[in-house]
Amino acid sequence: MPMNAAAAAPSSGGDPAAGSVLLRMEGITKAFPGVVANDKISLELRAGEVLALVGENGAGKSTLMKILYGLYRPDSGEILVRDRTTRIAGPRDAISQGIGMVHQHFMLIPPFTVLENIVLGSETSRLGVLSYAKPRAAAAKLIELNNLHIDLGASVEHLPVGLQQQVEILKILYRGAEILIFDEPTAVLTPQESDELFKTFRQMRAQGKGIIFISHKLDEVLDIADRITVIRRGKVIRTLDRAEATKPLIAELMVGKPVILNVDNPRLPPGPAVLEVDKLGFVNAEGVAALRDVSFRVRSGEIYGIAGVEGNGQSELIRAIAYRTRISGGSVRLLGADLSGLDVRSRRELGLAHIPEDRHKFGLLLSFSLADNFILGSHYKKPFVSVLRTQVRRQIAENARRLIAQFDVRAPSEQTPAHALSGGNQQKVIIAREMSAKPRLLLANQPTRGVDVGATEFIYKQLVEAKKNGAAVLLVSADLDEVMSLSDRIGVMFKGSIIKEFERESATKEEVGFYMMGEKAR
């Protein structure tokens, strides 16, 4: 069937931009212990097109791309670059075949300059001594050609995420890549930065390059892709032309059943204020005022969304609410009680629950079982506390089984270590734990980051459920669509302040986006 999809595509589209075939992957199979990550996958990429690769987490997209880039070796199958069978044993082979990849986690050397990062591995030198004159000129030309905006002399660690990504793009263009792979490139970008990236895509497409674009955001896929290949459980389900693709159709092909993408999120009459943040200030370790005069309140029965480019104080704000933090001014009150000086346990006793931004660092003990992860935070309370663990083992296991069933966590057993789960299921474990505490205030920081469509739908439902149960929900997300569709009110953070508040009804994506860039504040 994958063969049909690949073969049918050329005749059906008639896209004027479509050119010769750059790349063909045929019957790629790759098994890991216990799973077949890629099961006879075939796909085709033509010059001058953007091919979107979509599928749930763990569907096998990243594995396939890692095979193409030589990081994994396939068990069987063939890769043809410009109709010639190629063996790609490592990144060096991939680069020499004109294949470049922008990884989900940037592959940059932070203390190096932009130019050093660009030349690394493909240096120009005389007798082993680096020479930068030619690379600098070549890179400057590429910057101009591809709608990029980078200072070659800047050190990468000081660049914002959007620019770091441009460095990655430059790196692969500098190596002469014709086939460019982007693994969830927009996950970390603002809408404006994403637009810039797509401009670059269009420019590269016009130059006849082939782009493979992995994304969870279906709106973007429909915006930029010429063809869309859907993968589910290691198999190509179908390749769609842009003309025949719709959002519900793609989502259904990905998940295998119809998906409701719009959450039923009614506006409820607001209750009393639960969280009151008043003129909050915070100075970080570098002496920079990360929060200045932040004031807002979140009421019972509402979701308050914080929109903003990452790094504008959102993390610090959550920290000041969730943890004991040395604030430089103002106050945070939960149900009327001043939180200053209270440790995390006292805050949780007051009704605070927290879905942290980085689930690996702060949300889970990865090497612990699910059962143990479920009782974190209530481990000192009945019925989980005892002198010997054997006395409460049964209660802990029962609690875990109940939550696994209730929150639809896909795991072999409650004794499975947390690291063995996919990102979406790990997130469900955290949400199950936090929701089962019946919170009065729920902090949800990037709750769907790196989570697939199916799990996202579930998480959205849970947030709305919390609100219906009378909790106040503070949502922080870099995904503006998410903030817009879930929030009753929206606050835009820029440089440590909330510079604008919107009611749900009066907010438009463009306007919120402009405030996120600080445009209106000037």
Binding site: Y72, R73, M107, L108, P111, F112, E123
Partner: protein, 291 residues
């Protein structure tokens, strides 16, 4: 103080600084590539034995030095194989090698020179000037060369990249293993050079007296840069020279005076260094993605 005494002190200070400086430069190469090498101490000690042994075997100090450098590299190669290829914890490997160095040197000394705790006298020596081994001056060009190699060459760029983000380097086709081996082997060679300025006349058990660790402190204080590491070595070396030169003239119990360089190392590391930053992947074995 007379000018002559001051000049003596300057020369003496260079003499005590040079072994630290060579070892610290070795540390820079190893750690910039991402491998913590606390076996500098053992490497220095074993090289110190090798230069005496080699000089006597080959009837030449220069061949003895070459021998010490080769042995220093061979010794470091053990650390490289264990920590890079087999991914053993780098601190544990270093501790084991420090113990091993002392043991092997004693064993060889017993068998070759008939005494366990010291070797025979080495009849060959570098010329000295006002109490300074003139080979100490070699540290200056070596430091400059190290700076040049690390910052201006393809090799240096790649070496530093694997110490910061080996995964990124790997995706660019850089051989992480090769680069890390190079860094560790260069640190071994530097231990060999340090033997030339430590005390090439005779090997004595325990003669390094923690200088390998002081060199590590100098490397950190020097912020992992070759020039910084050498300047920091001068600070520690001159502190040591002050101890030697002035201990007899000050009315303080000698134990306290002898503590001085070590206390200085602790104070400097605890206080001043707070903000200096190690290479991001320093001490972290590199595992390729596929498993």
């Amino acid at each position: 103080m007379h000018w002559g005494t001051l000049f003596d002190y300057i020369c003496k200070g260079l003499d005590t600084s040079a072994p630290l400086a060579f070892a610290a430069l070795g540390g820079v190469f190893s750690e910039k590539s991402g491998v913590v090498n606390i076996a500098l101490e053992g490497g220095m000690l074993f090289s110190a034995f090798s230069i005496v042994w080699g000089s006597i075997i080959f009837h030449s100090l220069w061949l003895g030095l070459l021998f010490a450098v080769v042995i220093g590299m061979a010794f470091a190669a053990i650390h490289a194989v264990v920590t890079i290829t087999y991914k053993v914890n780098q601190i544990i490997s270093g501790v084991a090698l420090n113990i091993l160095a002392e043991g092997i040197a004693r064993f060889l000394s017993q068998n070759i020179f008939g005494q366990e705790t010291q070797s025979a006298m080495n009849p060959y020596s570098f010329p000295s000037y006002r109490g300074m081994n003139v080979f100490s001056l070699v540290v200056i060009p070596v430091a400059i060369l190290s700076w040049f190699v690390l910052n201006k060459t393809v090799f240096g760029l790649r070496l530093r990249s694997v110490g910061e983000n080996p995964e990124a380097a790997d995706t660019l086709g850089i051989n992480v293993t090769l680069m890390r081996y190079s860094g560790v082997l260069i640190s071994g060679a530097m231990c060999g050079l340090s033997a030339a300025v430590l005390y090439p006349s005779r090997w004595v058990s325990g003669m390094t007296g923690g200088r390998g660790f002081i060199a590590l402190a100098a490397m950190i204080f020097g912020r992992w840069s070759p020039i910084g590491a050498v300047l920091a070595s001068l600070l520690f070396g001159y502190a040591d020279a002050a101890r030697i030169s002035f201990a007899s003239s000050i009315q303080i119990p000698s134990q306290f005076v002898q503590m001085f360089p070590y206390v200085l190392a602790v104070v400097v590391l605890a206080g001043v260094v707070g903000r200096s930053r190690a290479p991001a992947a320093d001490g972290v074995p590199y595992e390729k993605g596929e498993d």
